[in-house]
Symmetry: C2
Subunit: 414 residues, 2 copies
Amino acid sequence: MESTREWAEKQDLEDPLSVFRKEFALPTGVIQLNGNSLGPLPRAVPDALDEVVRHQWGEHLIRAWSEDGWWDAPVRVGDRIGRLIGAGAGRTVVGESTSVQLFNAVTAAARLRPDRPVLVSDSTNFPTDRYLATSVARLLGLRLIETPMGELGEVLRRYRGEVGAILCGAVDFRTGELWDISRTTADIHAAGGIAVWDLSHAAGAVPLDVDAAGVDLAVGCGYKYLSGGPGAPAFLYSAARHHDTLDLPLTGWHGHARPFDMADEFVPASGIDRARTGTPHVLSLLALEAALEPLEAAGVAAVRRKSLRLGDYLTRLVAEPSDASGAPGSDRGLEVVTPSAHDRRGNHITLRHARAPEVSAALMERGVVTDSRPPDLLRLCLNGLYVSHTDVFDAVATLRDVLREVPRAGEVAG
Amino acid sequence: MESTREWAEKQDLEDPLSVFRKEFALPTGVIQLNGNSLGPLPRAVPDALDEVVRHQWGEHLIRAWSEDGWWDAPVRVGDRIGRLIGAGAGRTVVGESTSVQLFNAVTAAARLRPDRPVLVSDSTNFPTDRYLATSVARLLGLRLIETPMGELGEVLRRYRGEVGAILCGAVDFRTGELWDISRTTADIHAAGGIAVWDLSHAAGAVPLDVDAAGVDLAVGCGYKYLSGGPGAPAFLYSAARHHDTLDLPLTGWHGHARPFDMADEFVPASGIDRARTGTPHVLSLLALEAALEPLEAAGVAAVRRKSLRLGDYLTRLVAEPSDASGAPGSDRGLEVVTPSAHDRRGNHITLRHARAPEVSAALMERGVVTDSRPPDLLRLCLNGLYVSHTDVFDAVATLRDVLREVPRAGEVAG
């Protein structure tokens, strides 16, 4: 009987991933359903960072660039993230913020189609993607067409022969809807375009195979499902076929073919090294590296399977009457926004409620960490790596309590 | 008699800044003369970072963005760096790498003079500055003129009415030569241009007053004289008079006027907040913040006075005969490249030697950390905050030992 806490506890006892929960420093009394915004602290990180700071920086000083592998870290960590997204070695590099990497990737993508005057940008994407696409279009003198992902096919037809780069979000940050990367990329290629994917809400959450899907360029965030810590550096992926012609605007000296020649002219390095920018933020970068271990050990596929189960469980609980006399979820002003089909959703479930910001704040006060997005969306991230069935049960129970207190819009608190 | 170690020890005993040496975790048996590349570990950093990681991230999760001041950190740390460079509050922001900030600053500077077709770039600047200036010129369709700082006046005359932005290095990373920021900026303004300064080798090393000097925009490095750790985030300064019109290309969501509205259009924040980019690298950023304390306590002016004394001392020792029968420095193939005048040099002293890379490697083996720059320059950074007279004495003694073993170019090792 899954509407009891005992049922949830039993699932957790039988859960092969439950061993990974202890790899995260989850605060007592807190249910972390916000890993799509900031992943929790992996236990390995503090000691790893202390070693980097006290031993490598403190004792080795500049020798650490070679002896401790700092110089190679952007591509070494890139390769580790690459394995999590289906990228072969030497196709992923880590550094800077997601916004900066988006700028770099979209500019380079548009330059791969210099004769195409239109840049397409997913209008449902996270705002920073849209702002940077706008900036690139302006700098390159391109016409910017914004379209929701669902209408991309129509845009590709309408601007056939004109569309160069297309910036797409893999998972809708609001609704949690997952797009078909492989099919969409094929459609983009059929139209002669270059597909740039923002994988921020997909990397580490959903099994990806960017190589097989033919993705041209991709960018993603280090601090959501990768749990790399606040503001962890972002990653940039480029298909190997583009490496020789990738013409990136952020020509920092670490991307030079021979950086220590200190040469007059920028000569891009071969391979993905050309997408290095300036000196990497070593402390943030190596915290991210240490954070990857539990996810690598569990495997994205297994985490995904459990996350989907948790999502199904949550949506069923939300729809249940709260007690024998209670009304089902929809009567509490809640609506599940995220598609129920497994192949059409990421790892967060979005609920619509007219007072989502208040609900999220009230949940936070009661130790359930979620967030809201304007105007009326409540997001609950179910990362199977550390979220349990019991967490979901308790979170929904708390949500019911909160909804008894937070009136629906239009109602007056009684 | 300053050619004795006793003399150096006496100077250290009388040195009011000697108390700050213990604020840095200097490895035993190592003389750190490389703070212009990577400042040593300030003792306050490991515990501060551990608090950020275990307590703030680990326990507060996303609440730390407000409760622990993460959201404000880019401008809060910016203001602290601002005080070190003579910038009033609200004019400096921290984030990303120096290369990225250069791109952002130079693009915005050129856009402040949309009718000017020429971008000028200091040809003696660090390579990344030159590469990014090249990239900006290409994106904006500007003609790039590269000139050594000493010939800038001539370039401003030749391209009168055409020059928009000028990217200058405050301290020559090779020779250690310091340029007159105030006078050069006045010359640039007289020509109708916008002065962008790279302060990487000046911030924290040389007393600066960017506000009084009329600097338009400036960028600098967090891990040299600010000792913020490997790849510490860079800073960007903008004069307040430009804030309303500053049109930056890296329009990340943190620079939005109302970032949590998640609005369709980028509306830049007022003030320096518009120069925020993506989510800041909190771990690297807060390590930098903790690192600033000793420098703030000592004051840049006092550190500079001592650094100049150390530089004078080093150049005198280098010129001395090594012993009663020895030859002076110049006969060992050494030449002091850095100007001797205090108002014309930064805080590193550059020596020319035909085999500088070998000399630097041999010094490193003996615990004296320096570096070399192609083709023949050896750099010794004298940061008065933690370098002592005894360090200088011992380093020069070691240099003499090394030079007995490393033959000059053209000679065959005996």
